[in-house]
C-alpha cells in the first residue's frame, strides 16, 4: 500500500529557500539529511544540529522556544525523525508555543539507512496528526507555488505552526557540517542567549 512518489520538490532547494530570509530565527535540525540541508544553506551560529538522536528535535526546539519567547524557533527535520517522537506533537499542542514552527521535509523514506519506507507514504497523515493535536496553523506543501505561499507563514503565523513538505526521495550530497556537540551547542547558546548566559 505504498503510495507512488510523484513529488517534484528537491529537499535542499526547499530548505535553502525557507532559510533565505530567516532573520534572527533559530533553527533546530533533526538527524541525517536535515543537518546537511540546513548547514549547506549557511552554517549559522543559530543552528543547532542534532546529528545523533531520533525523535528529539521538536522538544529541544520547544525548550528553546520557552526560554526565548521573543524569537521564532524553527524545526527542520525529516519524517522518520518526527515519527520517532510523535508524542511531542501532543505535548506541544497542549503548550501552544506561539513562536515555534515545525517543518517536516517528508521524503517518505529513511534516507540515511537505505531508503526504507517510513509510515508517511503508507497512509499516515502527519498534517492530520498535527491538526488533531491542536496545532492552529498547518500546511501541506507539494509544489513550488505552495512553498512560496507558506514561507511567510512559517515566520509570521502564530505558532505552533506545522508544515509537511513532500519532496523527492533522493538525498542531497553531504557537506562538512560541524559534528562536535559541545562546539555546536555552545556556539548556539552564545548566539541565541548571549555570551553571559
Amino acid at each position: 500500500m505504498t503510495q507512488k512518489l510523484k513529488f517534484s520538490l528537491q529537499r535542499r532547494q526547499v530548505v535553502h529557500q525557507i532559510l533565505e530570509n530567516r532573520g534572527d530565527a533559530a533553527v533546530v535540525t533533526g538527524i541525517g539529511n536535515a543537518v546537511h540541508d540546513v548547514a549547506s544553506a549557511n552554517d549559522d551560529a543559530k543552528n543547532m544540529y542534532l546529528a545523533g538522536v531520533m525523535g528529539g528535535a521538536c522538544m529541544v526546539a520547544f525548550g528553546i522556544a520557552l526560554a526565548q519567547p521573543g524569537r521564532r524557533i524553527l524545526v527542520i527535520t525529516g519524517d522518520g525523525e518526527l515519527l520517532a517522537g510523535i508524542g511531542s506533537l501532543a505535548t506541544i499542542g497542549v503548550e501552544q508555543p506561539k513562536n515555534l514552527s515545525i517543518i517536516v521535509i517528508d521524503n517518505q523514506a529513511y534516507g540515511a539507512t537505505g531508503n526504507q519506507h517510513t509510515h508517511t507514504g503508507r497512509g499516515v497523515d502527519l498534517v492530520g496528526i498535527a491538526k488533531a493535536s491542536n496545532f492552529k496553523n498547518t500546511a501541506l506543501i507539494t509544489n513550488k507555488k505552495e512553498l512560496q505561499a507558506q514561507i511567510p507563514n512559517i515566520y509570521q503565523k502564530p505558532g505552533p505552526y506545522f508544515a509537511v513538505v513532500k519532496v523527492v526521495s533522493k538525498s542531497s550530497p553531504r557537506i562538512n557540517a560541524p559534528k562536535d556537540g559541545t562546539y555546536v551547542s555552545r556556539r548556539f547558546r552564545s548566539a541565541v542567549a548571549g555570551e553571559g548566559a
Binding site: L50, G56, M59, L66, A67, G87, S88, T91, R189
Partner: protein, 175 residues
C-alpha cells in the same frame, strides 16, 4: 503503609530549585512528585511542562539550556528506561541535567512489574554517564538536591537524585 507526608521535603526541594533559577520543570504524573508538580504549576515564573513520555523531558531541558534557561525533570524509576537514548545527546553536548527520580520496585514494592526497572535504574543511569545521588531519609532529600543542582549546573554534568521508596512510601491504589 500509606504514602508518607510529602509536603515537608517538597517545600525545601522547591525552594532549592528556585534558588538555582530553575525556569522549566518537565514532569510526568507521579504520586511521589505530586506536591512538587503542584508547586511548579502554581509558581509564576516556572514553566511546568507535562510530558507524554520521559524522553521528551530530556529533549526539552536540552532546549532550555540552549535557550539560556535552567530546568529539572521529575520522573519515576520506571521512566528512566525511556530516556536512555536521549541521554546520548546530553552526554555528547555536555548539557547540565538535573533529574529527581522517585523510586519504585525496591522497598516494600507490592507490584512485581515495577521491580525489574526499579532494580536496574541506578545501574542503567550510571552506564549512561549520569552521576547518581541517593536520598534514603526525608531530612536528606533537600540537601542532596542542593548538591546535585550544584554539580549539574556549575559542574556541568548529568545528575540524578534517586529518592528511595522508603521515603516516598508506597500505596496499593486498589485498596
Amino acid at each position: 503503609m500509606a504514602v508518607k507526608k510529602k509536603t515537608s521535603w517538597s517545600n525545601a526541594v522547591f525552594k532549592i530549585l528556585k534558588e538555582n533559577n530553575i525556569k522549566q520543570i518537565a514532569y510526568v504524573p507521579d504520586a511521589g512528585h505530586t506536591s512538587l508538580i503542584q508547586k511548579a504549576i502554581e509558581d509564576n515564573i516556572v514553566n511546568p511542562v507535562s510530558l507524554t513520555s520521559e524522553q521528551e523531558g530530556i529533549a526539552v531541558l536540552s532546549g532550555a539550556w540552549l535557550g539560556g534557561d535552567a530546568g529539572a525533570l521529575l520522573l519515576q524509576s520506571s521512566g528512566v528506561g525511556n530516556i536512555i537514548n536521549m541521554l546520548g545527546m546530553v552526554n555528547e553536548c555536555r548539557f547540565p541535567l538535573l533529574m529527581l527520580v522517585t523510586m519504585r520496585g525496591e522497598w516494600g514494592e507490592f507490584n512485581p512489574w515495577q521491580v525489574p526497572m526499579g532494580q536496574a535504574t541506578q545501574v542503567v543511569l550510571e552506564a549512561s554517564g549520569v552521576i547518581v545521588h541517593r536520598a534514603e531519609e526525608p531530612q536528606d532529600i533537600a540537601e542532596t538536591v542542593e548538591a546535585a543542582a550544584k554539580l549539574a549546573f556549575e559542574g556541568g554534568r548529568m545528575v540524578a537524585v534517586l529518592i528511595g521508596q522508603r521515603v516516598v512510601g508506597f500505596k496499593d491504589w486498589a485498596k
